[in-house]
């Protein structure tokens, strides 16, 4: 893990400007939706809904790091041929991927959280800024089910050979079913049930309650813990993938 952290830090800090620009997209997109809502309602858009979407955008950044970025990092070490070396070294490939995730969370997630917290502090007061930072920390810890789902999908990476289709679908699934830009109650019942089966919406709702409601809804805590089954599944599938790669020796098949 320590070697992975060192590697991730070196690579991440080299492109810090680009990563910081991702953080800047958070208020930009939230403002864009607000502008659209403002136009759609003839100038009567609710500011609370803007804050809802602002926090939602920060959560999307965290979810993006936990899903798409892990797939792309996996692709990077696989296509570059480093996976075989990592598998043979004391620093395990999974620990390296998680180290990348951790560093991206700190660099990009924190950047997005600080920008959002500043806006929220201006509109609602400094206490809410602290709550936002705490909420993002909670979201980071409880994002492991999303990581698990990504690891399970990574099983298909050697056969698909490029993470684009997987990361595209996973990315849009988070934003569609995740309740980050609108509550899932706007959906028909079937989609609400589907949304409940995926580990996004409850995760986002829990973090948002901390940020904007200054409370941790304990009734959702059990459900949130239940989603950790996704993480367990991801670890199991990852084990299968590594066993398959070792068995056939196809660490860099493309």
């Amino acid at each position: 893990m320590r070697a992975g952290l060192y590697l991730a830090l070196r690579l991440t800090l080299r492109q810090y400007g680009v990563l910081l620009s991702v953080s800047m997209l958070v208020p930009f997109f939230a403002a864009l939706f607000y502008l659209g809502g403002w136009a759609a309602t003839g100038g009567r858009a609710d500011l609370d809904k803007f804050l809802y979407q602002l926090v939602g955008m920060v959560l999307l950044v965290v979810a993006q790091s936990a899903s798409s970025n892990i797939l792309w990092n996996m692709y990077m070490v696989t296509s570059g041929g480093q996976l075989e070396y990592l598998a043979a070294s004391p620093s395990r490939p999974l620990a390296v991927l998680l180290a990348f995730y951790l560093v991206e969370l700190v660099v990009v997630g924190l950047g997005a959280a600080v920008i959002a917290a500043f806006i929220i502090a201006t509109l609602k007061g400094p206490l809410f800024a602290l709550a936002t930072l705490l909420a993002v920390a909670v979201a980071a810890v409880t994002s492991l089910p999303v990581v698990g789902l990504t690891l399970a999908l990574a099983y298909y990476l050697p056969s698909i050979r490029n993470p684009t289709p997987l990361s595209t679908i996973l990315g849009v699934a988070v934003v569609f079913f995740g309740g980050v830009l609108y509550p899932v109650t706007v959906f028909p019942e079937v989609l609400q049930v589907l949304s409940l089966l995926l580990p996004f919406a409850v995760w986002a709702e829990f973090a948002r309650a901390v940020a904007l409601g200054l409370q941790a809804p304990l009734r959702q805590f059990g459900l949130l813990m239940g989603y950790f089954a996704y993480f367990a599944m991801g670890l199991a599938v990852w084990g299968l993938l590594m066993r398959r790669l070792r068995r056939y020796g196809l660490y860099h098949a493309w």
Binding site: Q15, G17, V18, S21, L25, F28, L32, F33, Y34, L35, G36, G37, W38, A39, A40, T41, G42, G43, R44, A45, D46, K49, Q53, I160, N162, T164, P165, L166, T168, I169, G171, V172, A173, V175, F176, L181, Y182, P183, V186
Partner: protein, 257 residues
Amino acid sequence: MPGDLLRELWLITRLNFRPLSFFVASMLSTAMWLVVVVLAIAWYGGDISQTARHLFWGMAVFLIFSEQVWGAAVFNTLARTGVVDYVAATPVKLHMYLFAVSLAYSAVAAPGVLILLGIYYLLLGEFPPLAQPVNFAAAFVIFVTAAALLVSLFTFLFIRLRNPNFVVNVLQWAVPLSGGMIPPTAMPPEAAQFFLLSPFHYVIAPVVYSATGVWLADPPTTLALGAVVAVVFYALALYAAKSAMWRYRATGKWGVE
């Protein structure tokens, strides 16, 4: 020029559609993104069908422009790897070649627009209305031409940057937004007037206006100004191409190497 266009269209189409899984994933995500954007905006209290009707052509314009700009960003790699050197060695005029490439990329966005149309139909049981078809046709031709010329101009900026991704991201949003991708006619009049100051407004917003039938200014004047803006973009692209070629002949570099 027609030969360039057909060749680039064939090349770009092959590159974009060869992996079927990419195409299917892109189709699915485009459709879901349309629903997300409409829901995220309509959640503020607007009527969903009205919001979709107002946003549809703006999203289509964004899709086409985005495809063109990211296509232009590839020239950063092409300049780095020496491919643009081969283009410079051919008798083809650089600005016309880039214009053909941008047009080809806008054609590649067509399946995405068709998917948007399909999803719109599935959601609302009708196709997005076209209030003024003749004006729409004129506005669409002006938009595609002006956008391709503008993107040709941007290409000369992208081949000078080490990593153009940030600038591409900014441009792909700044141009359609300041051009009226979200229809200014739906905004309060005090805010809408500011759009008249943007040159992009005269090439982008007419597509939306002619589809919804509500214009911010007189339609013939707006369309004529759009044509003038397209001519200005052509002149700028020509100047940028001549400068880039002159610099390349003098130094042997495009800027990014």
